[in-house]
């Protein structure tokens, strides 16, 4: 399963680096490009807008980092296995929902503690997705949840514009 995902993501990068061609609907885990709108599709389920300009893409086991000069955006998907690894038996949706709304178990409390100083926090929902947006000291993070997904998405923005993060909130969707 992991290997399949990696192959799909690698295919995505090949498409991206070869000029962001449009691809047919049969290719579900790939990066689509069409003029000024480009989408990153994670696990074949969630489509996120990506910055229109970038010069480097890093791919690792469960994350993609897209950067240009001093702007870096990290996209990471967090599955149940990772939540179990930190010590919780909850689904990713229930874990993060609990942590953001009323942390009751130790792991949820520690997770919030690990975020550090939160300058501002906001919540939004659109297209059956929930967005928890944190302005932190040197970065911004958005956690994207849905009870219909078996994973959560974390977007980390260093130097990214507020407009791009608003774009994520408004234009991400479940496929």
């Amino acid at each position: 399963m992991i290997i399949t995902k990696r192959i799909c993501i690698l295919l995505a990068l090949v498409v991206a680096l070869s000029g962001c061609q449009n691809v047919g609907p049969e290719n579900t885990n790939i990066l689509l490009g069409s003029g000024d709108r480009q989408e990153l599709i994670l696990n074949g389920r969630v489509s996120l807008p990506i910055p229109t300009r970038y010069d480097k893409i890093w791919l690792s086991k469960s994350s993609i980092i897209i950067s240009q000069s001093d702007v870096s955006i990290g996209y990471r998907w967090i599955d149940k296995e990772e939540i179990e690894f930190i010590g919780s038996i909850k689904s990713p949706y229930d874990f993060f929902k609990g942590a953001f709304n009323s942390p009751s178990i130790d792991e949820e409390k520690r997770f919030i503690e690990g975020l550090g100083n939160i300058e501002t926090y906001s919540y939004a929902s659109a297209n059956n997705l929930e967005f928890y947006h944190f302005d932190l000291v040197d970065k911004q993070k958005i956690y994207i949840l849905s009870d219909s997904l078996d994973f959560a998405i974390e977007v980390t923005s260093k130097g990214g514009s507020k407009k791009y993060l608003e774009n994520i909130t408004q234009n991400s969707y479940i496929r």
Partner: protein, 108 residues
Amino acid sequence: MEPITEQEKNEFREFLSVIYSDQTKSWNINLKVLELFGQLIQSSQSCSRYMDMAPRPFIVGNVIKWTSKQARNAIIRHLKNGGKHYLICLRAAGLSLKTDFIMASQGI
């Protein structure tokens, strides 16, 4: 800055693997990664019941002196001496910093 030796890198990679599993084997351990590790240690007050965050002489204000080999080695000794439960406790706090570690290991 005193250069981080391969042995030190391996020790810190080992600590980070307790927090983040084997994915850390591919991480490049650099000063940014160590600073982030310090940030994780210092943000996790609730894990401090397992052990003190780091030996006091090597903290200036709130920042660990990672550029000092003596400080790094003191922290390595400190964590090797019964730090396993402490590192496991850091897993939940570290969840929100994993992307940051991946970025830092690439120098981002």
